[in-house]
Amino acid sequence: MAVHLSYHRGSILIRGTHVPNSRWDERSKCYRALALHYPDILNYLKGTLNEYASDFIVRDGMDIEDEVLDPIPCPRFKPPGYKLRDYQRKAVDSWLKSKRGIIVLPTGSGKTLVAVNIIFELNVPSLIVVPTLDLVRQWRSVLRESFDMEIGEYSGEEKILRPVTVATYDTAYLCAEELGNKFLLLVFDEVHHLPSEGYRHIAEMFCSPYRLGLTATYERADGLHGELPRLVGGVVFEEKVSRLSGKHLAEYSLKRIYTELTDEEKIEYKKNYDYYRNYLRTHNISLRSARDFKFFIMRTGRDPEARKALLARHRARKIALNSSSKLRVLSRLLQKHSKDRVIIFTEHNDLVRMISHKFLIPSIIHTTRKEERQDVLEKFKHGIYPRIVSSKVLDEGVDVPEANIGIILSGTGSKREFIQRLGRILRKKGNKKAVLYEIVSRETTEVRSSYRRRTK
């Protein structure tokens, strides 16, 4: 009897027998399994490990007709022309033992090169999944240089399929049905994004047997990293920041600058903040956890008074954030570091715009067009623009070379965000010592947020 395996929109159809992890599908009159389980199914049927070569194999008198994979024809890759550092070599070797799993390395320690090496060693059609458009661009250029061939892109802007293709998480999620059987190796950059409810479909709907995850922050606050061994494999290699700092990464110092609100701002701030506090007090609401706050937000849908209180809180925070004294500090810092490469962070797009308009500094936010985004980053890299300002979009892994001064104007207090923002300016270049400034308003709720950020 023959068993027939085929790929259908993110799943494997199994005709002729039942296999583990599969379920009968009345619509198609056959068994169906998540594409994720393809290697296991094959191993189960063959009783052997890790061989994907032949189409017809006899086991217990059973023929396997396997039409699952439809890989993109792949040339022999050129060896990358650089030497790996010790820990990078170790990371590659550990991963190659099982050809699955996650490598944890701090930001700026050359995760990309580790992945390029693995892609070269396996020499199979590979899909690299990354969180942002900037990272798509960055990976493509590294891969293009390493292998001297055209690299594909699957993003909101392009759909080019090549043996080595870089995709955003969003597009990989949307196109999983059509891409799921075309690559043998999946590389997840910033793999801690993968376990979220939507993105995990990428891992589940691809049948790729080889999987590599890269991250600097394996753990997630919500505990979902527990899903990663199933989706990608366990941690196969880990190197801590402290061991690398000073050796391969630049050292940095953190300076916190407190600012006072102006008298007018203080009055306005107090008025709004009191309004908000008053509402909470008169309605007996205490906000101790994120969950409490969520309930309060829900309440604002029903209760116009709660809504007004929330708006007052927004206004108060906005005053603290946009305080003119903060901008004065910023302008002092800009003067002080007029010969340095300065990158300014704030999570509020309005504030990015305001700084860009006021100080005539190029900006990047999520709506900035690809063309301009590239132009700005390129010119920052070559020192034509010595200063840029940006919101969250630069959070992860974007190569911002040559930056030695960072200024944070606000933050949300999340642990991961903080490390990675630091990581951005931790690029070793000569003997340069990096400085990270954090500008916080005194006597406002923001102090607490900054404290939370550091201690968590």
Binding site: R9, L34, P304, L334, L360, I361, I384, Y385
Partner: protein, 524 residues
């Protein structure tokens, strides 16, 4: 469709429903004020629109998510002015000039602007107007909408936004027309959804989800389901049921056409035109067949056949003899199409399949052996062969009815029974009753459309015998009429009488007996 944080729902006992906006004075008023705001802002900057809206929103007493949603729906109807100079290029110049030192004073800024406009060769005003024009463009056009249309659109968007979180969608359609159902299924395939479909009475039920839904609970297909909804609304008599995943719980959501009509004004429906024939072959056949008197009526686009979730839409249906016989015409088409079609047709062995002769010659063409009624045609569909197939069904039907009559027929209690009465009593055709009665019923005589007791026949016969050679035909019929209310001529003939016509006048006719026939009647 709206951002999910603007979706308002009501949950109760495991059920969920979007908080649809009623078409009330209050809601229409809010819709109107926002529409007016957009109209007022034509020619102004986007930020002006935004500021004014925020004021309007803060002063409004209803749930802020409603006005904000309306804003988003209207925002999609504006067209903004293209800047006269590319802001990106302007900024590039300005930033490069500004990069030589930190710009911290008004004087620095002034100088950068002066130098930039000189280098770009445009005026200061042009520079400043266009520098950020892509962030904050001028609104050029706004295509207006009436307040009730906006509320309808809002309610539709709420429905769609809720379905983003759906894991499964079950729809039920009462008597859908073929065209809509066809479109619906086509649309489902287009969105990469999968379905189970079955019939229960007049209703067609479709359960919709995606390939991996059998393996895990997922909202992956919710967006596709939401996009599919407008096509569903075009079909009359719909209702839907869905599972909504919210906060790791599943809520049930139900909605029917009648309820939703309160919130959603349908766009004026276009007149549905019966589609033209697929080919001249089909058209000729249709006209020809219906001009014949066959006892069958030929119908076009008769509606779906469903079996094991496979749906086909046959081209024709022959209606008659208590049957609907479907017919599919398979023209010359691509190989994949034909292969797929044949795979489906396997499930419907009774279907009459007319196959283009040229297909026989194409490689790999294989007719499913299950099919019972296959006809090949060249240029026209051969009527004779069709009629031969239909005759089989006619005979089958007769057979079935005769059996039925055999089982149910009881000797009548009244002396006269009409064929029509027997037909409606046993729900069978005239042909069947007649052929049954021709076999004879004890104590009765069958005259063609009446079953009359032998005793009554004898009585009439005796009366007429006495008048042989004397009475006229009209008088004879009158006498029969005393016993039997209709079809006197039939009785007259059946009793074995005949008429000698002396002229064309009925008064001049004399009855006589066709003597040898009487025995025949008696025998039966």
């Amino acid at each position: 469709m709206l951002p999910s944080n603007l979706l308002i729902t009501r949950k109760r006992k495991g059920r969920i429903k979007p908080a649809f906006a009623e078409i009330t004075e209050e809601n229409l008023g809010i819709a109107e004020s926002i529409i007016n705001l957009f109209s007022r802002c034509i020619g102004k900057r986007y930020s002006v629109l935004l500021d004014e809206f925020q004021m309007l929103e803060e002063s409004s007493a209803i749930d802020y998510r409603v006005p904000r949603s309306l804003f988003i729906l209207l925002e999609r109807r504006i067209i903004t002015e293209e800047p006269s100079h590319d802001p990106f290029l302007l900024r590039r110049t300005v930033f490069e000039i500004a990069s030589y030192k930190p710009i911290i004073s008004e004087r620095d800024r002034e100088m950068v602007f002066e130098r930039s406009s000189a280098e770009l060769g445009i005026s200061r005003r042009e520079l400043e107007e266009n520098l950020w024009a892509d962030e904050d463009p001028i609104i050029r056009e706004f295509s207006p909408i009436t307040p009730d249309e906006l509320i309808s659109l809002y309610n539709l968007s709420l429905l769609q936004t809720l379905l983003f979180k759906a894991d499964v969608l079950e729809i039920s359609l009462s008597n859908p027309d073929v065209l809509s159902l066809r479109n619906l299924l086509r649309e489902l395939r287009f969105y990469g959804l999968m379905y189970d479909i079955w019939r229960s009475g007049d209703r067609i039920n479709i359960t919709i989800d995606g390939p991996i839904s059998v393996l895990k609970l997922t909202r992956r297909y919710g967006v596709a389901m939401a996009r599919f909804i407008p096509s569903l609304l075009n079909v009359r008599g719909w209702s839907l049921r869905s599972g909504i995943l919210d906060n790791k719980k599943i809520f049930e959501f139900q909605l029917g056409e009648e309820e939703f009509d309160r919130y959603h004004k349908k766009c004026v429906e276009e007149e549905r035109v019966k589609p033209a024939f697929d080919s001249a072959v089909e058209e000729n056949f249709y006209r020809q067949f219906n001009s014949l008197n066959t006892g069958w009526l030929l119908k076009r686009e008769p509606g779906p056949l469903i079996k094991d979730s496979v749906v086909i839409f046959p081209d024709f249906c022959f209606v008659g003899y208590n049957r609907r016989i479907f017919m599919e015409i398979v023209g010359f088409w691509t190989r994949e199409y034909i292969e797929k079609k044949m795979k489906k047709l396997e499930l419907f062995p009774e279907l009459i399949v007319c196959v283009n002769n040229e297909l026989r010659c194409s490689p790999n063409f294989r007719l499913p052996s299950e099919l019972k009624n296959v006809i090949f045609y060249k240029k026209v569909i051969p009527l004779n062969e069709i009629l031969n197939i239909l005759k089989k069904y006619e005979a089958e039907e007769l057979e079935r009815e005769l059996k039925l009559i055999d089982n149910n027929f009881k000797r009548p209690t009244s002396p006269i029974v009409t064929v029509d009465e027997l037909c409606s009593e046993m729900k069978v055709s005239k042909v069947a009753v007649k052929s049954f009665l021709q076999r004879g019923v004890e104590g009765y005589v069958f005259t063609g459309s009446l079953l009359v007791s032998k005793r009554l026949m004898d009585e009439i016969s005796d009366k007429l015998d006495k008048l042989l050679g004397k009475a006229t035909y009209a008088q004879a019929l009158d006498i029969i009429g005393e016993f039997i209310p209709s079809k006197q001529e039939e009785i007259f003939d059946a009793l074995g009488f005949t008429v000698d016509w002396r002229s064309l006048n009925v008064e001049n006719s004399i009855i006589r007996r066709k003597a040898y026939i009487k025995n025949d009647i008696m025998r039966s």
